[in-house]
Point group: C2
Amino acid sequence: MINFKVRLCKWAGLHSNKEATPAFLSLRGNVETGCSVQTRRDPILYRMMMIYLLIAVVCVSVHPVQALDNGLALTPTMGWLHWERFMCNIDCNMDPQNCIREELYMQMADVMVKEGWLEAGYEYVCIDDCWPHHQRDAQGRLQADPKRFPSGIKKLADYVHSRGLKLGIYADVGSMTCGGYPGSLGYYETDAKTFAEWGVDLLKFDGCYMNWTMLGEGYKNMSRALNQTGRSIVYSCEWPLYEWPFHEPNYTAIRETCNHWRNFADVYDSWSSVKTILDWTATNQKILTPAAGPGGWNDPDMLVIGNFGLSHSQQQSQMALWAIMAAPLLMSNDLRDICPKSKELLQNRRIIGISQDPLGKQGYRTGTVDSFEMWERPLSGARLALAILNRQEIGGPRGFPLTLATLPSWQYCNPRCNVTQILPTYQELGVQALFSKQILKINPSGTALLTVTQIQDYSGKGY
Amino acid sequence: MINFKVRLCKWAGLHSNKEATPAFLSLRGNVETGCSVQTRRDPILYRMMMIYLLIAVVCVSVHPVQALDNGLALTPTMGWLHWERFMCNIDCNMDPQNCIREELYMQMADVMVKEGWLEAGYEYVCIDDCWPHHQRDAQGRLQADPKRFPSGIKKLADYVHSRGLKLGIYADVGSMTCGGYPGSLGYYETDAKTFAEWGVDLLKFDGCYMNWTMLGEGYKNMSRALNQTGRSIVYSCEWPLYEWPFHEPNYTAIRETCNHWRNFADVYDSWSSVKTILDWTATNQKILTPAAGPGGWNDPDMLVIGNFGLSHSQQQSQMALWAIMAAPLLMSNDLRDICPKSKELLQNRRIIGISQDPLGKQGYRTGTVDSFEMWERPLSGARLALAILNRQEIGGPRGFPLTLATLPSWQYCNPRCNVTQILPTYQELGVQALFSKQILKINPSGTALLTVTQIQDYSGKGY
């Protein structure tokens, strides 16, 4: 499947400062005049819009951006992945409730259906490292640890499928997994075939124990091998993560190969970790953001909401920013025992709506003012998502003065927009004129998440 | 008032590793044999105990450690202080509910009485910086900002006293406060007299805008000035905080001068900040711990429990470790709007009991094993408080195998102790033999807090 990224020829890409003006927004204002405000029925503006629209259509035709051709992950993958919360806990004698064994995934699948997770969109139940036996079988095939997975992965997949869910599994492009289990190097076709036969729906393919110069070839070969099975298997890579220490990864190739890809360090159960990921992503957004789109996504790692290291404000921030970043929403927590507030946040339909927006454009940081970080994400239906993160970690809630005219995408709301606040609490802020001011109260390390919808005129078209 | 610190002549002080063995515990075992376990009726042990007891009594007689002679802070001060949560917010037009004005302290006083805070022990309502007018009056006296404190501080003190609470105020040893308000340099006697006349019960005396070589003289002079007023005013210093960048402070002099003293950076509303304070304190515990005792305490800064930056596990950790450190419990939060779980934690009588233990010995870190940090604090009544902090910020709750024989103070529980778990949840663990094993489940960034009570024999004496 070929996906197209709308790119205006004139647009030089995203910026990490307040000047970022995404192309599709520039259509709705006079990009030459910078800060000047256009009136509703400006005929010059209208003519310019038509010219830019023409340019845009031409650009779309000549600049196709190819995603992995498997028809999957048209929106960011949603599900549950065991790693951050359960790690490589294989001591089922001491800790039977939390060790890596088939019951864990069966219980999680049961809860996902019963407690509304599937209904909210969380579909994939994903096994991470430490599931295999230390030896391949006589035919060279991977096999699950027989004590911890006595029924085998195929039966587990059947169980998960019977609940209307999908099963994810984990392997490694190199000679061993990070946890020291058998790697897939030399076995790509065998392993892809095994996973397909088992009925696996997603493969997280790690990059340990592999010479970095062979990463590209390895990830591409496994991609082809998965494709050749004929089964729809979401392909989650860690290729760029392992390549960044040596050189800037080729994101065109990565997007052609993988459905999502980890770029940066593992997430931990701490606000420091979440902040480090956000900062790294923003610093590199010129490189990362253009690579994302339907079929292929940057993966900033798991949601750790519902665990032990984030305050509720910080949990709201992770949820909001992961939605803005068009990140896979792979929770790593214990769904059997999660507090109601975390559950409500993870199942918030409005935030999930931003995450899963069909336009599939990744958001970006547009600037930082007075320790408030501003992020935005273009959405379908003439909408924008805005996130304002309070990075001042002292004091009480602070007021952020939201004035649409100060947004990098101000043209979009000329002369007005409808504004909905989603976090910290849902609130319709109503129609806001370009220069009207709304004070948003934002907790330290918390985030205000909003959607901004263009007001349509009588003919149904926005200005 | 003279306080005495029990110090065994032979004891070389506290250690930051697993070998730390406080003197009073060494009385209850054979310190020469290290890891060997004494039986209940070992006559050698009994004779050694008597010898050590004699030595201890002699040492007590010859090594008095003098605290500030004002009869105050015999246990660590408990109360509320505005800084971390409300800072220097003086914009009462924009933020009338949260700006620094008399209503804030009156409301906090009302809530402290109504919601059980006073009953739990939180007695001082403390003003921090930004309360004064920018000019002294014609007589050179400090005066409150007339717009924000129209009734004046004396009236506010009366209000606070009428609720059974005490009032704290803030000033600075140098030429200006940190926020740029008038400093007390050159006005120590005037300001001490003013505070006494107003009915102030505590002074937080900051150290901004002061040549560091003059800090000692300044803090001592204010101490004398306060004493000369004849009013009981708890004297909270920041002398060592401002001296550490230049040289190791003289804690004997500090203890003779102040009721508590800040050593290290301001606390922020984040787990990183709390950890940094804990690490600094543990690193310097050989210097800090001997200085603490009834009448004088190391102050690691405010409790930020009930705000926005700490998860519940992290809030439990701050509460537990502040109790272990015999720290003043000065909350900085909004008591008018605090979640029930944070309130319950801050009012937990068992934790407050550890904090306020009359023996008045500060606890210390005894070691780190497998990312578990172990802290202990000797308590009155042949008891010990233990805190085990899980510093691994990934994964689920981890099991810490508590075996009394592995404690630095194992001799104390020979042959058994009664163990009570206070955090994460209250649980009587009952009588534990020296080599019995209890698995404590501790959340990432969370803490298990326990008390260990020596089992008395039939004659009412411990072994």
